[in-house]
């Protein structure tokens, strides 16, 4: 039995690096410090849904084949295509992504990463407006106001609040954890009284009910760290917050602009904005202006709805305005563990963070035209290589339909939805579990991923598989050139 300490968790963009794993007979048997998703990933690394052998579709069925055969078939598909799509990259290492971009250039395809359906609009806005940022460590030690807007870290980044924001014990800011526990105890107590009253008085007289209504004390005025959540639903994170603002769906833009007006001391001549009374908004605006160091985290609630990138424009501008009065930063909540790394490597090698088109021989970038969903909706691609991602599951049906019509190559560890409809399936080692590599945390800090256990026999890391496909593609192309 061996205990491996300080392992980085390859699930979400928080990249928690304090995981402790117990390894027995080459298998991970115990996970310490991880969240539910982390445990599922590490304990399930040898689950029944792992792919162990390369597969090729013959007569409509996926049948086992050799790695050489699968690599050859994949290279033939890519080398023979006019406009292939190479998609995924956010759940693999930067090193693998780097080889992927070389491959895209070689075959003249469109290469895109999952940012396109998550924080793509945020990247566009950052290019337009600019961003005021810092590391998560700075936030942990110094931020006294945390805002989560359109994101639910409790569900998507379970340890984000505990490790980096309101519930983390910083050098200059204390954890707000005790306050939360006190609040929960008070809530439970109130519910107990309510149920007792219900039992004793079957038909509740109205005056008792009125007395039981919670008196509204805006805890936003409290001392120490404050947590504000703005969302369309009362999420689990919202329940932890000191103040929750429930915005109507697709109305975030109006709310952001209302805040911009308020922090410039302008009066709003309406009673409510986006379904929220202006009085509440004024309190939140006061908290924003009066904090020493504020941090606004935003999620897909802003990028996927209504005004999309214009929401982010407004959020970035709000933070820019706030910096006239105090210190404020803004950060997107990145979903896949290395989506930030994929954007970074793309930018190093091509100049653009995602949606890069090599069909003219040089990198071209025009989201809306060269982004994968648009290419698929127009039905233009004639082959696809999917690495470490599951677009058939995650894309709108109409886009997935064209993807499935193309000859489809899938490289990944699990029998995902995409693998089930693919034509060539090549299993790969889990980066961060069975293969080492580099990943970028959501604040752009690169963190090494460890190899903890060996991959199943014969299963290679993405980087190695892609290198082999690239070599095979080059061989096919040079043979063609010689023949011509």
């Amino acid at each position: 039995m061996q205990v491996v300490k300080a392992v980085t968790c390859p699930v979400c963009g928080s990249l928690c690096d304090d995981i402790e794993l117990t390894v027995e007979n080459g298998q991970i048997v115990k996970v310490k410090n991880g969240c539910a998703m982390c445990e599922a990933k590490f304990l399930g690394h040898r689950g029944e849904h792992r792919i162990l052998k390369p597969l090729i579709r013959k007569n409509g069925e996926l049948v086992e084949t050799t790695l050489e055969e699968a690599v050859k078939r994949a290279a033939e598909i890519l080398a023979g295509a006019n406009y292939p799509v190479l998609y995924g990259w956010s759940s693999t290492s930067c090193e693998a992504t780097s080889v992927g971009i070389e491959l895209a250039e070689e075959v003249g395809g469109v290469i895109d990463n999952t940012a396109v359906v998550c924080h793509g609009p945020s990247l566009l806005s950052v290019q337009d407006v600019g961003i005021s940022s810092c590391t998560l460590g700075q936030i942990r030690h110094r931020a006294d106001l945390i805002i989560y807007w359109g994101c639910d870290p409790w569900s998507a980044h379970p340890r984000h609040i505990e490790r980096y924001t309101a519930f983390s014990e910083g050098r200059f800011e204390k954890s707000a954890w005790r306050n939360y526990v006190a609040k929960i105890k008070a809530l439970v107590g109130r519910k107990k009284i309510q149920s007792t009253v219900k039992r004793l008085v079957l038909k509740k007289p109205p005056e008792i009910k009125a007395r039981l209504e919670p008196t509204f004390i805006p805890s936003i005025m409290k001392e120490g760290r404050k947590l504000i959540v703005i969302d369309v639903r009362r999420t689990k994170t919202a329940e932890m917050a000191d103040f929750f603002v429930q915005v109507e769906p697709n109305k975030d833009y109006e709310l952001l602009q209302a805040f911009r007006a308020l922090i410039r001391d302008q009066e709003l001549e309406v009673d409510s904005v986006a379904g929220v009374p202006v009085q509440y908004l004024e309190e939140v605006a006061d908290a924003m202006v009066n904090c020493d160091f504020g941090a606004l985290f935003f999620g897909l609630g802003l990028t996927m709805s209504g005004a999309k990138l214009r929401n982010i424009d407004a959020a970035l501008s709000l933070v820019r305005d706030l910096n006239m009065r105090t210190k404020f930063i803004i950060m997107p909540m990145r979903g896949h563990f290395n989506v930030t790394g994929a954007n970074t490597v793309f930018t190093w090698q091509t100049g653009y963070p995602y949606a890069v088109d090599f069909s003219l021989g040089y990198p071209r970038y025009n989201p809306g035209e060269t982004s994968v969903v648009d290419v698929l909706l127009r039905g233009e691609s004639d082959a696809a290589l999917i690495v470490a991602s599951d677009p058939v599951s995650n894309f709108p049906r109409k886009a997935a339909e064209h993807l499935v019509k193309n000859p489809l190559i899938y490289i990944g560890p699990h029998m995902d939805v995409t693998a089930q409809v693919a034509d060539v399936v090549i299993p790969s080692a889990l980066v961060g579990v069975e293969a080492s590599g580099t990943a970028y945390r959501m604040d752009h800090v690169p963190i090494p991923l460890k190899k903890v256990v060996d991959p199943p026999k014969g299963v290679l890391p993405d980087e190695e598989i892609l290198t082999r496909i690239l070599a095979e593609v080059r061989k096919i192309k040079s043979e063609k050139a010689e023949a011509a």
């Binding site: 793509g120 569900s155 009362r234 996927m304």
Partner: protein, 135 residues
């Protein structure tokens, strides 16, 4: 016979912790299918429709229609807002249009909900067969 009750709603999709755990366990697992072939509804809306926790409902948008299980939302009140976790079921009915920036509308899609106790919730394989005739 009376008109079947129908409700006009706004469809949201997104992550849940169950979906997160399900996807790590494997997309072909029962846990995953059960975590994403459901629809969280406001209890008041469920009353209006006459559906109970676990009743099958049909959610339709301009882009398609899918049968999922209704679930009482713990995040209520959110009247006229329904929530389906990310996955093939939700993506069968979201708006693929990217409005020139590459991002489809996964959230805030106008939809209608009606009870469909006689229609089954398709399994992943059946759903793939129905949608793509492959898998």
């Amino acid at each position: 016979m009376g008109e079947k009750p129908k409700l006009k709603v706004t469809l949201l999709t997104g992550r849940t912790i169950e979906q997160g755990v399900g996807k790590e366990l494997g997309k072909a697992t029962k846990e995953y299918a059960e975590s994403v072939s459901i629809c969280y509804m406001d209890p008041e809306d469920m009353k209006k429709l006459g559906v109970k926790d676990g009743t099958n409902i049909q959610v339709s948008t301009a882009f398609g229609s899918v049968v999922v299980k209704a679930k009482k939302s713990l995040r209520a009140p959110h009247p006229s807002v329904i929530y389906i976790p990310y996955g093939p079921w939700a993506n069968a009915i979201v708006n693929p249009e990217t409005h020139g920036i590459g991002m489809p509308s996964f959230k805030g899609v106008p939809a209608t909900v009606e009870p469909a106790p006689d229609k089954p919730v398709l399994g992943l394989e059946e759903l793939l067969k129905q949608q793509f005739r492959k898998g």
